[in-house]
Every structure is written in structure tokens, then in C-alpha cells.
Amino acid sequence: MSKTKKMMYINRKAPYGTIYAWESLEVVLIGAAFEQDVSLAFMDDGVYQLTKGQDTSGIGMKNFSPTYAALGDFEVNKIYVDKESLEERGLTLDDLQHLVWEDEDEDWAEKDSIHLVSRAELSDVLADQDVLFNF
């Protein structure tokens, strides 16, 4: 049996200009079935993927932003957001969806999935991973 790997998916692109954001999310959901230690990072324009109130009706693409709220169900609950990237774009945590997961061992208590980290803290998290996927 192979041991559990720490896998980090790094999301750097705006949600709809390219297919990267949706592809990343699909890979994460598929990968979550294999019981690895999964975490996600959102930086650069990738922070836009988590914004609230997305409306894709003008561009004819599926609005997949509600799917991020399902990550908790898939036991993906380590979501790191780069603080500087938010600030550079005039965004705060309040502009992002409130993503939570439910802790089965604590009577389904809701806990925050998003961790706001500085670039320096994020690089420590990245250094600690076994596998990095860049999207």
C-alpha cells in the first residue's frame, strides 16, 4: 500500500477566461475519492474563483461556483487564500464565499475551510507538500 500523499492544487487563473479553474475543481473532486491529504491554494487571479455572486449568463458558460461549497462534503477542507493577492485586487475575505466543512466527530459542527495566509506562510505550506499541481 502506498502511503497517503500531501497533494496541493494551486489555482492562479480567473474562473472563466480559460478552462483551468473548472478542470482543477474536477480533478480535486476526483482525487478526493482516493483519500489523499488534499489542500487547495488560491493566488493571483485565482482568488476570483471563490468570489460570491458570480453570474455567467452573459458569457454562456456554466456557473460552477456553487460547486466549491461541496468541497467540504468531499473532505477537502484546507483551502489557503493568499492575502496579498486579495489585497492587490481590492478584495477582502467578505467578497469570497463562506466555505465550511462539517466535523462528523463533533456532532457536525461547522468549521471554516478557508485560511487566509500571507505569501510567506503560503510558501511554507507549499514546501511541506509531496505533490503540487499548478492550474
Partner: protein, 111 residues
């Protein structure tokens, strides 16, 4: 493109029998799909099918079987939130088979 008939209406499906457009779904087509698999839909089946439709409505994806099992357990009780119960209802695989009857696409990660 294939299709199936229910109650005089034609529904387009993909080659595996999943509905091409989930908005065309109704209870009649679910029952016909089940009949093709030799499965009679009971209240217990409908509970799961309705749950899946609500889940898709909210998150825009079909849940993986592990997620489905856990969520059913939370919503309908531990005696239903286990793979034995769900596999008895849907022997071809709860996520796959129930998603099909619910008119959803095949769950992400399902082969």
C-alpha cells in the same frame, strides 16, 4: 444520441442512458429507466433520487458515492446512510444508478 420513451414523450439520452438535458426529467422517465434495469421504484428509492436532485440543484455536481452515503446518513438517519442499504436499493452502484434515474449526469470520477 439515443432516446427513451415514457408516457408518449421522447427523452434524449447519451449512449449510457443518462438524460441529455436534466431539465427534461420527470417521474415518468425515472420509472421507465428503472423498469429497463428491472427495478421497481419504492418510496425508499424516491428518497435517494429526490435527495440527488436537490444536491445537484445546490452544488451543480452529482456527489461521489462516499459523499452520498455520508449525506444520506445525516439527512435520513444512520440506518440508511450505509453502503449496504444503498446497494440493496441500487445494485448497479448507488451514485451511478440513482443519478441516472434522477436525470443527472454520471458522477464526477465515476468510470
Amino acid at each position: 444520441m439515443s432516446s427513451i420513451e415514457a408516457n408518449g414523450k421522447t427523452y434524449e439520452t447519451d449512449e449510457e442512458g443518462y438524460l441529455a438535458d436534466l431539465n427534461t426529467w420527470d417521474k415518468d422517465v425515472a420509472a421507465v429507466m428503472a423498469k429497463i434495469d428491472d427495478c421497481d421504484l419504492t418510496e425508499n428509492h424516491w428518497e435517494v433520487i429526490n435527495f440527488l436532485r436537490e444536491y445537484y440543484e445546490e452544488y451543480q455536481i452529482a456527489p461521489a458515492v462516499r459523499v452520498l452515503t455520508k449525506a444520506i446518513g445525516k439527512k435520513l438517519g444512520k440506518d440508511k446512510g450505509n453502503s449496504k442499504y444503498l446497494y440493496e436499493l441500487f445494485p448497479y452502484g448507488p451514485a451511478k444508478q440513482a443519478c441516472k434515474y434522477a436525470g443527472l449526469p454520471k458522477p464526477t470520477g465515476c468510470v
